[in-house]
């Protein structure tokens, strides 16, 4: 997948070959007549294909069936949507540790008896508004409050789950509003609504990131915030909005989790931040910002989902699964850093 990141700001200084920060791959590849698509992404897809083959070989009767693929995609839906938001944040040079807690808070807030009494539409709106609100608070603290993202979102990580516990009284709030569950657990044109939602969020995210000024600015801010500022980008407002997007994604994920579990609880979204960061990183997005790919993130999420399914279907212990997960993360990052080093040396 070509990264169409023709960033106006960075093209201005591509003449400087000794720059410590490598130019975005799209630029360099084009200049050196390189590959038409990202090799690493192809490798990642290869891993996914191999995993699917392993699943098929070990469980030929049930792995690549329509039902299982649908189950895997629905399991990937919530974490996939959260990872889309996380990709934006990381590309812009930040990090968001609070996504899991925000999912918990949204899921609780949208399932209180008061919210449920207003019907499904208000529940959805409530989830989205709470997510967006929390995300914007993160963003404002980071950009205008000048708190580093790690600390600001760590604060949200603690307090959002605390508020979720407070609101729910640490109980599991069962959804009795059947309109909500019927719609989100159902199908649309033969495909589960959750999969439509994942596809839609991904498609919108991809378009915004790769085909709009906003997306190009996100790359620019993450690549070099100071240069972006000098080029006339309102870096502060942009950063705040990026965190708002991450929060909004958490709201959407909360709707999915509530639909799947038919309940809201303060324990929802545990370790989502780690799963999302892992998926984004193995998808090839640089933790330092400025470079990344949403397609990679999606493949990263799918790799973990497929891995989980293979282990469960073959009735294997979860501890080995966690080891495998760790190995995949390390391998992906090693691959990424060695390729980068080679590139830097080549210039």
């Amino acid at each position: 997948m070509t990264q169409k990141s023709s960033i106006p700001v960075l093209t201005a200084d591509t003449g400087d070959h000794q720059a410590a920060r490598p130019a975005p791959p799209g630029e360099r590849d084009r200049r050196r007549g390189g590959f038409p698509f990202d090799v690493r992404l192809a490798g990642l897809v290869g891993v996914l294909v191999v995993l699917c083959l392993v699943g098929y070989v070990t469980r030929p009767d049930s792995f690549l069936t329509e039902a299982n693929i649908s189950t895997m995609l629905r399991l990937a839906a919530a974490i996939g949507v959260v990872s889309v938001g996380m990709t934006f944040v990381i590309i812009s040079g930040g990090i968001d540790l609070s996504v899991g807690s925000m999912v918990a808070l949204c899921s609780v807030w949208m399932t209180t008896l008061a919210t449920q009494s207003f019907g499904p539409f208000v529940m959805v709106l409530c989830g989205l508004a709470v997510g967006l609100g929390c995300g914007l608070i993160n963003g404002v603290l980071i950009s205008y409050g000048k708190i580093v993202p790690f600390i600001a979102t760590l604060a949200m990580y603690a307090s959002a789950r605390g508020l979720a516990e407070r609101l729910s009284g640490r109980r599991t709030q069962v959804v009795s509003e059947t309109g909500f569950t019927t719609f989100f657990r159902g199908d649309l044109l033969g495909v589960p609504v959750l999969i439509w939602m994942l596809a839609l969020v991904f498609a919108i995210g991809w378009t915004v990131l790769n085909r709009t000024t906003f997306g190009r600015r996100t790359f620019a801010v993450g690549g070099n915030a100071e240069a972006a500022r000098l080029a006339g980008i309102d870096v502060k407002r942009h950063t705040a909005i990026v965190y708002g997007i991450a929060g909004l994604c958490c709201g959407i994920a909360a709707i999915m989790v509530v639909a799947r579990t038919t309940s809201g609880a303060s324990t929802n979204g545990l370790f989502y931040e780690l799963d999302a960061i892992a998926a984004v990183v193995i998808g090839g997005t640089l933790l330092t910002g400025g470079r990344g790919s949403l397609v990679g993130t999606l493949v990263g999420v799918l790799i973990f989902t497929v891995l989980n399914s293979i282990f469960t279907q073959n009735n294997l212990d979860t501890d080995i699964q966690n080891i495998a997960k760790g190995v995949i993360i390390v391998a992906a990052v090693l691959l990424q850093s060695t390729r980068l080093r080679r590139r830097v040396r080549a210039t």
């Binding site: 469980r59 009767d61 049930s62 039902a67 299982n68 189950t71 895997m72 629905r74 399991l75 807030w109 949208m110 209180t112 008896l113 008061a114 919210t115 207003f118 208000v122 409530c126 508004a129 709470v130 609100g133 516990e165 609101l167 729910s168 009284g169 640490r170 109980r171 599991t172 709030q173 069962v174 657990r185 989790v257 799947r260 579990t261 038919t262 309940s263 609880a265 324990t267 929802n268 979204g269 545990l270 989980n308 399914s309 469960t312 279907q313 073959n314 009735n315 212990d317 979860t318 501890d319």
Partner: protein, 349 residues
């Protein structure tokens, strides 16, 4: 710039309005609140009011249905007795803080202490301190490392919980003449000894009938993890005959997964005994046919025991003059025939 001001004003108003609307959505007040609490019956020779007893109670934070029910039951039981004053402390999952709270209760010179420790080993020392100070300690569920730290212990039986679940499922399979059943298991957190004991008991009981555990997954005692793990389990097992889920709190998610997969060919047995599951057993319209108790009613009994210890009474139906040192509650199987008599111990998950 006036246009900018207007934009700011509009955005500001929207934000304030949205906040106000959201704040209105936080209430969880149920119109028909008033859940039941398990309390020991006020009958028999010991029910007559006696000497005033002050009981100190310390427990972890009420962060899930079962633990919340433990604290609620203890309070409800104490209110039943006119001769009991209950001193409770704020529940905490920080062992240091819980040790501090127990020390406070010791300094207040309560007559009897009821301690449900967050971690039995970590609170053993403070249990000994209390015992040395002449306070009788009732240890609930998570046992101290040494009998020197408690006068009496009351708790559940994880191994037998698995055994009874296994026996019930084995009986059902035999009644249906299924000779080689596929029996699934949705366990709790696998690294905890209690989960290992439950699984061992389940395995041992099934083995007695020549059956074995088929597909098995481990969840995290939360509805979300229950749903995810069960979705995968159901995909891997195209046909199931029975399924045991260790915990009714995560059971909400397990049921959501079963419903989502449109499966109904098997019977499901729960664990712990939530009100929710008991209602489903009573309705008998879905896969849930039974649940194996690990009942928070033990907290009510602990308060009753503490009162009797404080008044130097024994259990009148037993020959012993004193309260026994160890009491293990029985993990009864609640099914359609007996569910009515257990509704009072069901807890809100």
């Amino acid at each position: 710039m006036p246009s900018l001001d207007r934009r700011r004003f509009l955005w500001g108003t929207t934000a304030v309005g949205a906040t106000a609307v959201l704040a209105g959505c936080t209430s969880n007040e149920s119109p028909n609140a008033g859940a039941t609490n398990a309390v020991a019956g006020g009958t028999g020779a010991n029910s007559a009011p006696g000497k005033q007893v002050t009981i100190g109670f310390s427990a972890p934070a009420a962060d899930h249905g079962w633990m919340a029910a433990m604290t609620k039951n203890a309070r409800a039981q104490a209110e039943q007795f006119s001769d009991v004053t209950l001193r409770t402390t704020e529940g905490t999952n920080d062992v240091n803080q819980q040790i501090g709270q127990v020390e406070t209760l010791i300094n207040d010179k309560v007559d009897v202490l009821v301690i449900l420790p967050f971690d039995g080993s970590a609170l053993t020392e403070v249990g000994r301190q209390a015992t040395d100070a002449g306070i009788q300690v009732v240890n609930v569920d998570r046992i101290f490392d040494t009998p020197l730290a408690y006068r009496a212990w009351i708790g559940g039986d994880n191994y037998r919980m698995g055994v009874n679940a296994g026996n019930y499922i084995a009986d059902q399979m035999k009644a249906k003449n299924i000779s080689n059943p596929v029996i699934g298991e949705v366990a709790g957190i696998d690294s905890l000894p209690l989960t290992q004991q439950r699984s061992q008991g389940f395995k041992d009981a099934l083995a007695r009938s020549g059956f074995s555990v088929g597909p098995r997954v481990s969840a995290q005692f939360t509805p979300e993890s229950g749903e995810q793990q069960t979705s995968n389990l159901l995909q891997g097992a195209s046909k199931l005959d029975a399924l045991w889920n260790h915990d009714d709190d995560q059971g909400i998610g397990v049921l959501a997964a079963i419903e989502g997969a449109g499966r109904s060919e098997f019977i499901m047995v729960g664990g712990a005994g939530s009100r929710n599951m008991m209602d489903l057993i009573k309705a008998d319209s879905g896969v849930v046919k039974a649940t194996v108790l690990y009942s928070p009613s033990m907290a009510s009994s602990a308060i009753a025991l503490a009162r009797m210890l404080g008044q130097a009474k024994g259990i009148s139906d037993l020959a012993e003059h004193e309260i026994p040192a160890l009491i293990t509650t029985y993990s009864a199987v609640v099914h359609k025939e007996n569910v009515d008599s257990y509704l009072d111990v069901g807890f809100d998950s």
